[in-house]
Amino acid sequence: MFPPGFEVPAAPFKSVPRGGERLQVASDPPVQIRPPTGASSEPPSAGVAASVVLDDLAIQRALMRIAHEIVERNDELDRLYLVGIPNGGVPLARQIALNLREIAGVDVTLGVLDTTLYRDDRVTSGIRPRLRHTEMPSAVDGRLVILVDDVASTGRTVRAAMDALMDFGRPRAVQVVALVDRGHRELPIKIDYVGKNIPTQRTDHVELRTGPAGGDMEVVLMQSRGAPS
């Protein structure tokens, strides 16, 4: 059901993290990049408390529930096109696709869409963000595209993903899945399917970690401490 070469990085180089590596949150920029206005200038390295907010079981349940919601809300399941945003969105999209096959018997198209080249962050010094894999196996025209991301926050990644998607054609509709919605939206973007809402501080960092072969996932919330609350 997966497009050929789906799990093979485009570059024969060590570009795409393999299973077992810790996947960096592919969504909104780590908070360190843009310190919140008016917040304390405490550097995030001042001491970080990490806690697991979703374990593998909770993630699997959330992904199954999301698959049911997708079936419930949409008629034309044969037009579905799930697009994972690297890195975290890719294993999530794959799992949702498996769930959809199980509960509705549909084989959905699966794609990978990197948003880095569409981001609005102006980089004027330092190293440019690393590019990640993109693989859109078929045209998106007339399809019901569901973007899948691990952590939603400002909405800038979703905006970039929509811009990127439009360069591949004209989808009939676009919906968005996020495993975690941590708030702090800066753009008028609505997440259609949320695994879990997790209230956070802007200075916190939320990360999806993936075990070997994409299994055994957990979502970790890292809170800076040290600043007197």
């Binding site: 570059a11 180089f13 060590k14 080249l117 004027t124 360069d167 591949f168």
Partner: protein
């Protein structure tokens, strides 16, 4: 060091080269899309400053810049009016006042891109300077070999032709040795730099020895218009001794690939059948050139520094 531009492969670390290649492979995917354009460098200006004519390289840089949505301006002053150091510096200062985000420079004198880079806030990309270096050509050669062979480490690469006067040869030698290949060079003695072994290569007088067990064979362009008669007796003799054809290629590995920076002098460096061979690795080099230059522009354009300060 990447922040200061791309002047020579000699300046790069292996990690820099890997980062550029990795980025280039991702850029190649953009070139396969129906809409071959991403908004990454929107509002940025790239100046192509070509003192020496080169349709191929300039076009490649121009397409690369446009695919990233940059505004690309081509500027080709006649080299003759710009041979004095003062006028080169004046040109650099004029350019700087136009506030570009990257400047791509080709010049027939070695070191000019470096000289201009020292005067500019914007990063400078060397598109070939004299017989010094042509870094983007070497990087796209690496990219093509990685695609064909899956690696560089441990390969044997044979470069044939005018090693002494070729900036492509020099950049390729640095690039392939830094990435762990064994590099061999072969050509007439008049075209071999003295002590070429200092660059970490083995030099050979005959193709038979140089090609023995080679994975990659790189034929360099003979500058017929400039060199014929001066450095070798005749084109026919060069072609008979160092021109590559099917018979000579048998000395290399069965799956050896034949590369050429272009344009090919058919019947001189390469026989007609090799120049036309399928799959066309030489045209892959051209294709990869656009992706590779997109990667370099993505990594460098807009990364300004104050003049005289380290980035």
């Amino acid at each position: 060091m990447m922040g200061r531009g791309l002047l020579a492969i000699e300046d790069l670390e292996r990690e820099d080269i890997e980062r550029i290649l990795e980025t280039a492979f991702h850029m190649k995917e953009v070139g396969r899309r129906e809409v071959k354009k991403v908004p990454t460098l929107r509002g940025r200006t790239i100046i192509n400053l070509f003192f020496e004519s080169s349709t191929r390289t300039r076009t490649s840089f121009e397409i690369a810049g446009k695919r990233l949505s940059a505004d690309v301006v081509n500027f080709s002053p006649p080299a003759s009016s710009l041979t004095k150091r003062e006028s080169i510096l004046d040109t650099a200062k004029t350019l700087d006042a136009m506030d570009p985000d990257a400047v791509v420079i080709r010049h027939n004198v070695a070191g000019v891109p470096k000289q201009i880079a020292d005067e500019l806030a914007a990063p400078v990309i060397n598109a070939g300077d004299g017989a010094h270096e042509h870094p983007t050509q070497a990087l796209l050669d690496l990219m093509t070999v990685v695609e064909e062979k899956g690696r560089i480490d441990g390969l044997t690469v044979t470069i044939i032709g005018d090693i002494a006067h070729s900036r492509v040869a020099r950049s390729d030698i640095y690039a392939f040795t830094k990435m762990g290949a064994e590099v061999r060079v072969a050509g007439p003695p008049t075209m071999m730099p003295a002590q070429v072994e200092c660059l970490g290569v083995k030099s050979f007088r005959t193709l038979r020895e140089a090609l023995d067990g080679a994975d990659v064979v790189m034929a360099l362009r003979i500058q017929l218009e400039r060199l014929a008669g001066a450095l070798f007796p005749s084109v026919r003799e060069y072609s008979a001794t160092f021109g590559l054809d099917r018979a000579k290629l048998r000395f290399a590995k069965d799956d050896a690939i034949v590369m050429h920076p272009g344009p090919v002098n058919r019947g001189v460096e390469l026989s007609h059948d090799l120049a036309n061979r399928r799959p066309g690795v030489i045209l892959d080099q051209v294709r990869n050139g656009v992706a590779l230059r997109m990667a370099v522009l993505y990594l460098l354009a807009g990364q300004k520094r104050g003049v005289g300060t380290e980035a």
